[in-house]
């Protein structure tokens, strides 16, 4: 993409943001397989829509989500959430964060409890550069089923990439227990920067003993990193505040 095209894209986004603010924005949850994307989508839906509604099924088998799933009209309203004293929110996590993130954290805390954002949530299949049906057989699948899942998984990756054209913001979910400096993560961030699409990095699985979200913060110092546990609901309020600030 040429510099001129990028400038034109950024300019048109700025004009759209200033004069034609959308009532609802499309937020895509992207990341590698097994980062916890569907768990995060389910957590958001349970908190703000319906405790009994699921976006998708989350399991330990990679590529469980093989089709993009969209849920329209999700309203993040932290004021109402706090009044309702939702027990899912737990922001009392002691995480060692870098000074730049700590400064941004202070700015976020000032607005705590007032965040409001209407958006459509888009849960995407995990992005990968390789898919081997034999990997699925290790989870007890028959060869035929494993091959079918591998085929669907490749289609899912393509669909997730195509959806980038329609997305207004991205939550890039990374596993805090894994090496963050993978080419897939670098490629997603590079593409978002080139398209001028805002990104929040969520460092997931901080409830696990070997989680080191600081590695993700160090790897991507130019981006806001929010350490969370989508499964346990840890630090989710901070992510919602950041989403309301960055994506509105």
């Amino acid at each position: 993409m040429s510099v001129r095209k990028r400038m034109r894209g950024a300019l048109s986004r700025l004009i759209m943001a200033l004069f034609f603010r959308k009532k609802s924005v499309k937020i895509g949850i992207y990341g590698p397989p097994n980062a916890g994307k569907t768990t995060l989508a389910n957590r958001i839906i349970h908190t703000f829509v319906d405790d009994n509604e699921d976006m998708g099924v989350a399991t330990e088998i990679p590529h469980e989500t093989r089709r993009v799933i969209k849920r329209e009209g999700v309203l993040i309203d932290l004021k109402r959430l706090i009044l309702n004293s939702n027990s899912n929110i737990n922001s009392n996590i002691n995480i060692n964060i870098s000074s730049s993130n700590r400064n941004r954290e202070r700015g976020t805390r000032r607005s705590r409890g007032r965040a409001r954002l209407m958006f459509d949530i888009v849960d995407t299949p995990g992005l990968a550069t390789k898919i081997d049906f034999r990997d699925f057989m290790a989870y007890g699948m028959e060869e035929e089923e494993a091959k079918r899942r591998a085929k669907e998984a490749t289609e899912g990756v393509i669909e997730a990439i195509k959806w980038l054209d329609d997305i207004d913001g991205v939550i890039l979910l990374m596993d805090s227990t894994a090496d963050p400096y993978t080419q897939t993560n670098v490629v997603i961030i590079g593409n978002m920067e080139a398209r001028g699409i805002p990104v929040i990095i969520a460092a997931n699985k901080i409830d696990l003993p070997d989680a080191t979200p600081q590695r993700i913060i160090n790897a991507f110092p130019q981006h806001r990193v929010v350490p969370i546990s989508a499964l346990k609901g840890d630090n989710m309020e901070e992510l919602y505040e950041e989403m309301a600030r960055v994506f509105r």
């Binding site: 510099v3 990968a128 550069t129 390789k130 990756v157 393509i158 080419q183 590079g190």
Partner: protein, 134 residues
């Protein structure tokens, strides 16, 4: 996978003949100059890479691929994944900011078959990878 005999000398199509009689196997590596990379269009570049990698070769591009080209390469790869070709391993030095901090300058990208190449460590100036010959 290429086979050759001996320890020195030149042959044709990856076969090396020399003093020894021991048969060796190896991986072909194509290192492409920045001039060549820049002379190719995006699709031509991606096709060249994918054809090379599907043949079992490692492709090293001086100058590298942009993030958009890498995303397109992932998309093309997924279209071609089957029982025998499981995908690619791709690694590259991160791009540097160029003129007026607007243009990103890519540096180097290495791409290989996922079945044979695995990146074990990567940072902004170092890529460590294992390449299997079996």
């Amino acid at each position: 996978m290429k086979k050759w005999q001996g320890s020195s000398g030149e042959g044709e199509e990856g076969v090396m003949k020399g003093g020894g009689s021991e048969e060796r196997t190896g991986i072909e590596m194509n290192v492409v100059s920045r001039d060549k990379v820049e002379s190719m269009g995006s699709m031509e570049k991606l096709r060249f890479i994918l054809d090379g990698v599907k043949s079992g070769n490692i492709v090293v591009l001086e100058g590298g691929l942009t993030a958009e080209e890498q995303m397109k390469l992932i998309e093309l790869t997924m279209l071609e994944v089957d029982d025998s070709f499981t995908g690619i391993e791709i690694s590259g030095y991160p791009a540097r900011r160029g003129l007026l901090n607007l243009r990103k300058k890519t540096r180097l990208t290495i791409i290989g078959p996922a079945a044979k190449m695995k990146t074990i460590k990567k940072d902004k100036d170092l890529i460590s990878a294992i390449i299997s010959t079996t």
